[in-house]
């Protein structure tokens, strides 16, 4: 096999076949995929089905804490998990730029397989396209996922009541800041890594033992915690009050954001979830989350309130208040 991907690998002919067998079937090995049919024919489970899709176009492809493949599995697993679903099956479509390194492709596939195994999901179908050099930025991935929501579990903004507590499962802004450092090659000495992780195990721990107390869950990816919380409150009869002194932010994230004029509240996360839970059972939820490795820095960061309906606001360190609005465009680094 050649060391780089050529257009012939996407032609549907022999080389495509070799690519599928040599990398994808080798690493994602399961009965459905090996059947090689035009569709994976799957068993259904009782309960509601959750179905999601997402595309991954990250630069750089490899970063501290993961790569595009791990991200693609975690992203789809988490999109299912925060809906209360138990993720089961995943599809993966590859759009590869001609000239892409074979070794890197295999490394990405390997880490997808490892992450899928950790999350307990199967990659059952896929697609491969190779586009001429310049028509894509190295590699784009699309993953879709299917999961099943256990009977009786219901999550909805409509269930949220004043007095409910808002929990974040760990420190915020780690992923976006780590990517920024690598993408822009900022000369910063840091141990910071992406938090990219499959959260279904941790979230199932909470929903399985205290289902009705969990009102809503969401993973604050692009747009960060601030944007996600605004999605919770938009058009609703309640507001959310955050406590600035309760927000878990790593020193490195806070320091770098301070230098660049960015706000950690708007920075992307890939291994964190936001939960709104019944106020009376918040302690129990925290206990469960903290018992899991991905939730050990979980914190109650705010409360659902009847005032400021539709808004998210924050009690600041100085004791004042400010509105936390949705992000407009990307955060751009400031001038001084």
């Amino acid at each position: 096999m050649s060391e780089i991907i050529t257009l012939a690998h996407g032609s549907g002919g022999k080389l495509t076949h070799q690519l599928i067998q040599g990398i994808f079937q080798k690493h994602f090995r399961n009965d459905w995929l090996l059947e090689g049919g035009d569709s994976a024919v799957l068993e259904t489970l009782p309960g509601q089905m959750a179905f999601t899709t997402d595309s991954y176009v990250i630069h750089p492809l490899f970063f501290r804490g993961g790569n595009i493949g791990k991200l693609a599995i975690c992203g789809t697993v988490n999109d299912l998990a925060v809906c209360g679903a138990i993720p089961r099956y995943i599809s993966c479509a590859w759009i590869i730029e001609e000239g892409f390194d074979f070794g890197e492709l295999e490394e990405i596939a390997e880490s997808m397989a490892a992450t899928a195994q950790e999350a307990g999901v199967l990659i059952v179908t896929g697609d491969t396209k190779v586009v001429p050099r310049g028509c894509a930025d190295k590699l784009f991935l699309n993953t879709s996922g299917v999961g099943f929501i256990p009977e009786g579990l219901r999550l909805s903004p409509a269930l949220i009541r004043p007095g409910d507590q808002v929990i974040v499962t760990g420190t915020i802004g780690d992923h976006g800041t780590a990517i920024l450092i690598e993408r822009e090659q900022l000369q910063v000495e840091t141990g910071l890594a992406s938090d990219c992780a499959p959260l279904n195990g941790m979230l199932e721990l909470v929903t399985a033992s205290m289902g009705g107390a969990v009102r809503l869950m969401r993973d604050p990816t692009r747009g960060g915690v601030a944007t996600t919380l605004n999605e919770f409150t938009e058009g609703q009869g309640f507001g959310i009050r955050l406590e600035e002194n309760a927000l878990p932010v790593k020193g490195e994230v806070s320091g770098l954001c301070g230098m660049l004029g960015m706000d950690p509240l708007y920075i992307a996360n890939e291994g964190k979830a936001l939960l709104v839970v019944d106020g009376a059972q918040a302690d129990r939820a925290m206990e469960l989350l903290r018992s899991h490795p991905y939730g050990r820095d979980a914190a109650v960061i705010g409360e659902v309130v009847a005032d400021h309906p539709g808004k998210v606001y924050m009690r600041t360190l100085a004791g004042g208040h400010r509105i936390i609005d949705m992000l407009v465009g990307d955060q751009l680094p400031r001038i001084c």
Partner: protein, 361 residues
Amino acid sequence: MISELEQFRNETLAEGLVKAIRRYDGRPVSIMEVCGTHTMAISRYGIRELLPPNVRLISGPGCPVCVTPSFYLKSALELCRRENTIVATFGDMMRIPYKGVSLLTEKALGRDIRMVYSPLDSLDIARQHPDKTVIFLSVGFETTVPVTAIAVLEAAQQGLDNFMILSANKTIPAAMHLLSSDPEVAVDGFLYPGHVSAVIGSGLYEELAKAYGIPGAVTGFDPADILGSILYVLEQIRDKKATVANLYSMVVQPGGNPIARGKIDEVFEPSDAVWRGLGQIPGSGLRLREKYRAFDAWGLINGSVEERDEEAGGCRCGDILKGKCLPSDCKLFGKICTPETPVGSCMVSSEGTCAAYYRYQ
């Protein structure tokens, strides 16, 4: 790095300062924060609402993007459309509108516009692309100008002939004199910029305080720093004194940073400059000295853009920058002019007064 959250998790200090400020029972006063980063921090920490009604904070002209006149952006847009040209810029500049276009829209159309974090990054781009002219949009105060000067010096030393800057650099002292002497700008006290002062020193402010009888404090950017400086200014007003405190003495020395100033002087000379909203202020700009004129991208514009600042109809950024009105007094604010559809540059920059008010009020 120490997390600012960790540093200020102890809120007792801020609470004590707020209590002391609320005890102020003198005449109504307006205190101007000169620096855009202070404007942002004041809004971010909700400091305005903690003050008693007789203490008003107004925002000054200390956001370099906000005071950049429209003809600069028109020139930058013209330059980015040239063949074989790469324009390098700080992120803030990307969204400033000029008649419906911006560097962001030009980038989407395929112009080679790169966002950089330091002028030295643009020098690297010039080294990597010897066949293209790299133009750095040099907008900033004394904080960023020294590094721009270093970039020009390095380019000269290495004989890089494809690197240029379009300077709209400005210096703070002349603007401060103008604001202090303008009878329409009724400022009773100043919060002086922390970063700029690290370069120019706190000595200048003593002159201002003496000449115009206005007290002030140089301060950092955390809530306790800002509250402490407000309290200091109020005490001065109450005692009818006009002295200057340096509450950022770990960073700011009375004489500033002579090395940084030396670099600025080596490469730049003072020039008259147009400030958006303030008009032309003699001696407040920086242009490349004759020796470095080969690096001056204004030469490429060659008078084709008229040096005139055009405000969009109804936009009151000028009055806002002078502290004559609040963003909410502008008819466009929050309706036609929002961060999604900014009309004036005060709404564009992350440190702009209008953006700060819109986002945090």
